[in-house]
Amino acid sequence: MKYFREKRRIAFAMISPSILVIVAINIFPILFAVYISLHLWSFGRGVPRFAGFLNYEELYYDGRFGDAVLTSAKFVFFAVLLEFVVGFALAFLFNVKVRGMATLRQIAVLPIMVMPIVAGLVWFYMFNENFGVINWLITLLGSEKVGFLTDLDVALFSIVLADAWQWTPFVMLVMFAALQSLPEYVYEAAKMDGLNAWQTFWRVTIPMLRPSIMIVILLRIVDSFKMIELVFMMTQGGPAGRTEVLPWYLYVTGFQALDLGFAAAMAVSMLILVTIFTQLFLSRVGIGNDNK
């Protein structure tokens, strides 16, 4: 017993640095953000002045914040929807055993390797009305130029498209791996049970992919909620704030205006929103429903 107790003690001693690191890296900044959010503090000038919930109060009445939350929600919804539908379809396409598919697949995942900021730059120029290749093609076809980044109704979708360009391959990759890991025997069983292709898809493939689907959607939701690079490079929140997602507003407030207290309040609210949303998502949809 002493040996095992010793073993446990050593194990604890071994992991305690990591626990400390986790606390330091994960917990402390969050607590610090909460602390700052309760203060009026303009970076670099004087000490923070305690302000209670003033920042949150102002946030509540700040129309721009509400708009940013809504814009973020729209962006997340459309981006994840597009990425998932296309990525899922591509995963199936690439799962077909045809020569050259592996190479094609490798090419298809290249966008993931691109730094988001570079992706933003690339798409900024692609969508540009004066130099952009897409508008050049459109005029070549005899149509009017499209204000991809300046039209009030289009700009957000342009960013969605750029995000989808970058992250659809990720969805594809995860779904492809999940598809590959589905056991062959279940499909044989399905054949012997007489399921047709459609039934196999809906009754076997989808339910078995469910955990992967949930994880990839969750990852994409959380990740696209934090997206800032594309807005930074492509629109800076314009036109007329139609692409001002929450992280961008936060960046402008915290890093350009240096109004740290207000930015921290925003960050904390964002964290709470994301946490509530993911918890809701997990509890409602659930990753595995085995524990019913």
Binding site: L40, S42, F43, G44, R45, R64, I117, V118, L121, F124, N128, E129, N130, F131, N135, K145, G147, L149, T150, L152, M233, M234, T235, Q236, G237, G238, P239, A240, G241, R242, E244, V252, F255, Q256, A257, L258, D259
Partner: protein, 449 residues
């Protein structure tokens, strides 16, 4: 100037990595004859042309200086944060920092007064453009030496104007008339380019155009020929976005929209210059240094066909261009024993010879009269004598962008709110009113009144 363009942002990231690697392995050159005499100087710099040139010729520069030059180049926002953080250190990490003209108001508490050095070293301060030199003069202190100050001026295509029989536009009215005449007169030609992108770009446009209509965005004290930027007090902080001047400015910008190229709502910094360079617009607002983009590019359509003016004036305004750009300053937490060296390097980097040197590498800025008459420099950068003339004529000033700590917030709010108006999502009146409200709130939060 300042908020660097998007492309250079990427280049800079790479350059920074390289520079970091280089400086970490750099050893002091054997020859110790130059200004550094074998020592190391540390500079916190902005990713704007003059410092990018320094990065490019880093090896030569070190050889000339006879020592090690650690050049940390940062983006605008990061630079500002580092400067502010560094100011809180007991001992500064940097010998020299680069300061943007409107930042002196925010930084003046922790910069060394250089007046004594100027005096003792016999620097010919009158050789500098007056607006540039006095832009760093706050509370009777000389807080920085100009290294790359340049104004946002007005460029127009002489050939197109002559063809259409138009006069050079000295007023906004003339601008609009010319824009209307030229817009669409050729395939792909728009009237005028300017910074219309949301946020800081548009925010700067508003402050400067409002300036050329005769009023700064906050209630500064009027003095002879302008406003007193060296003495901004709390009661000066009231925003003036509900003034008649602001309405005139707004009306002008709304009009400009009609004669602007597609994508103007997302156009900023270099992009407008490049559209102008390739013949996409007949006129443009431009930071003078950026004229290098077409003047040094043999393929640019606009090359050699451009003439320059100060900002066209509004109905009650002046022909005054806004000065911006960078200065070298010494943080006051730098130990005494390093200050002499920091000064020597400042003197060297801002010397006429070095200024001329920078123009060889694509930096068309020369805030010294002596350099502006150098024929080689003028041949490389036709804009320089124009700017020199404007400086001499008093057509350059810095008050349009008040040197207050909240200047960046002012840009953000103006640039975000008025974008709504430009995009047609809100009326200009409402946008101004909302901007006023937000600016007012910002100033109150800061505790000015």
């Amino acid at each position: 100037m300042h908020f660097e363009n998007k492309q250079s942002w990427i280049k800079k990231a790479a350059a920074m990595a390289v520079a970091g690697a280089v400086s970490s392995i750099a050893v002091a050159p054997a020859s110790a004859e130059g200004v550094l005499n074998g020592e190391t100087i540390r500079i916190l710099a902005i990713g704007d042309p003059v410092f990018q040139v320094m990065q490019r010729i880093h090896g030569d520069l070190e050889e000339m200086a006879g020592g090690t030059i650690e050049l940390d180049v940062r983006g605008f926002d990061v630079l500002r944060q580092q400067v502010l953080l560094n100011a809180q250190n007991d001992v500064s990490n940097y010998d020299l920092i680069s300061v943007d003209l409107p930042q002196f108001g925010e930084y003046k508490g922790f910069l060394v007064d250089l007046a004594g050095y100027v005096e003792s070293s016999g620097m010919d301060w009158q050789d500098f453009h007056e607006a540039a030199w006095t832009g760093a003069y706050h509370d009777q202190m000389q807080l920085g030496i100009p290294i790359q100050p340049h104004p946002e001026i007005f460029a127009y295509r002489v050939d197109l104007f002559e063809e259409a029989g138009l006069e050079p536009p000295r007023t906004t009215e003339q601008v609009l008339a010319a824009a209307k005449a030229l817009h669409g007169s050729k395939d792909g030609l728009s009237g005028i380019c300017w910074n219309g992108a949301r946020g800081t770009p548009l925010g700067q446009t508003i402050t400067m155009v409002m300036g050329s209509h005769g009023l700064p965005v906050i209630a500064m004290d009027a003095i002879e020929g302008g406003f007193d930027l060296g003495n901004v007090r709390p009661e000066n902080m009231h925003p003036q976005m509900e003034s008649d001047t602001a309405s005139e400015m707004a009306a002008y910008l709304m009009e400009l929209m009609k004669f602007s190229p597609p994508g103007i709502l997302n156009m900023a910094w270099d992009e407008r210059v490049r559209v102008f360079a390739q013949g996409g617009c007949a006129m443009t607002y431009i930071w003078s240094g950026r004229s290098a983009i077409y003047e040094l590019d043999e393929d640019a359509e606009a090359r050699g066909k451009v003439s320059y003016l100060p900002h066209p004036a509004g109905p009650n305004g002046l022909n005054v261009s806004t000065l911006g750009g960078w200065f070298l300053s010494i943080p006051d937490n730098l130990p005494e024993d390093r200050r002499d060296l920091a000064w020597s390097v400042t003197e060297w980097l801002t010397s006429p010879e070095m200024m001329a040197e920078y123009t060889k590498h694509g930096n068309c800025v020369a805030p010294r009269h002596s350099v502006s008459v150098d024929e080689e420099v003028v041949a490389r950068c036709p804009v320089i004598p124009f700017v020199d003339a404007m400086a001499t004529n008093g057509e350059i000033a810095g008050w349009q962008r008040p040197p207050v700590p909240e200047i960046q917030q002012i840009f953000d709010i103006l640039g975000a709110e008025f974008h709504e108006a430009l995009a047609g999502a809100e009326s200009p009146e409402d946008a101004l009113k909302e901007a006023q409200r937000q600016l007012d709130r910002t100033m109150r939060r800061a505790g000015y009144y």
